[in-house]
Symmetry: C2
Subunit: 199 residues, 2 copies
DNA sequence: GGCATATAGTGGTCCATACCAAACTGACCA
DNA sequence: TGGTCAGTTTGGTATGGACCACTATATGCC
């Protein structure tokens, strides 16, 4: 819980890494409130600006968000707007009575980059499944959907499934026991809390 | 050149907006050095931390980059890695002797969002052309390529062209007089310097 | 009970100051 | 000429203090 003042790693980075690690481990659940800037400063024996810098770098990576008068809270791991706008595309399509289909553009297991890893609250280099599909309505390509899923949560997902025909969420539900309502909630379901993991 | 201390807009935002405006107008060319933190602080009569915060927010949007001992410099307007990785896809494809083709997913004129606008050094809400295509090799979809071009630089681009058959860069070269070598340089060519604009 | 008021806590902004390492400048000397 | 060494400038880090607007809670009054 103490910092290394003689380390070449800046103090605010040490604090940020520590908080990020606690978020990733589930010590701070989604929506939970982190210690306030002043509390962190007191706890680590640094100035408020240093503690603030740590929280700011977390917020910059999308891990947290802050509100004046309330505090800093762990953000739900949301994938970029891309996915969200595309699920609304699917909504529109269904409402218009069009026949939805898909075309797999990319499907592979890769290590997370910093961006995606931070958004999903995963340690760097964690393997994820990348599934990228073109969405078509009545054969007309409408959008590209890119989905990132931590590999350890759905091992072997890419083998034995044709995602140009099968629904990703249907496969996850049937073969992996996930019950999902909305696509953009899937990323949260992919990141179990500490309680779920120990269960 | 003076700031409004009584404005609800924070001082560092005022300075940041002013610098951004000067970058977009070409007053600071690409690669040019911005005033140092201490110089800005002196010039605007603020503390160095405030001036620093302005420069940091610029860097955060990708407009500038800083190096210790040297200064802060205007970054070349680069589009996200997406485009770069995809052009390398095309490279790979050609080397393997595959037949490249395209399928237009999206093609429209939209106002820039904050992200893209900042990367291209454009004022907010500037209209850009969004062209999104699926790249195919021997009929196999390989990647999605999304291109953003300031609309005023290629007016009417989307009318009368079938980009599932025509090469975007070929059209830009023939119809708009641009001579491009590499795709990932196009974005720089789309952003003329002040000298080119007055010419 | 219901409502206004005081109080404390929070993030956001801003200040003045200080030290550090990297990078450049220029004077100096071999 | 060519290299060394001190001094300057630069962004990066860190301190400690201050005020603001917003939020929630507790207090007191009607």
């Amino acid at each position: 819980m103490t910092l290394h003042h003689d380390s070449p790693v800046p103090l605010y980075v040490q604090i940020k890494d520590l908080l990020q690690q606690q978020i990733e481990s589930g010590a701070y659940a989604i929506g939970a409130r982190l210690p306030s800037e002043r509390e962190l400063a007191r706890r680590f024996g640094v100035s408020r600006m240093t503690a603030r810098q740590a929280l700011q770098s977390l917020a910059q990576e999308g891990l947290t968000s802050s509100r004046v008068g309330k505090g800093t809270f762990v953000s739900p791991p949301r994938i970029n707007q891309e996915l969200r706008t595309l699920t609304s595309f699917s909504e529109d399509m269904r409402e218009r009575g069009m026949a939805p289909s898909s075309r797999v553009v990319r499907a592979e297991v890769i290590p997370t980059d910093r961006e995606i890893g931070a958004r999903l609250h995963l340690a760097p280099k964690t393997e994820i499944i990348l599934l990228s599909r073109v969405r078509l309505a009545d054969g007309q390509p409408l959008a590209l959907e890119t989905t990132h899923i931590p590999a350890h949560l759905c091992a072997g997902l890419l083998e034995g499934h044709d995602f140009s025909r099968e629904s990703l969420y249907e496969v996850l539900r049937v073969h992996y026991g996930w019950n999902l309502v909305w696509a953009d909630q899937m990323m949260q379901a992919c990141m179990p809390s500490a309680a779920e993991r120990s269960a």
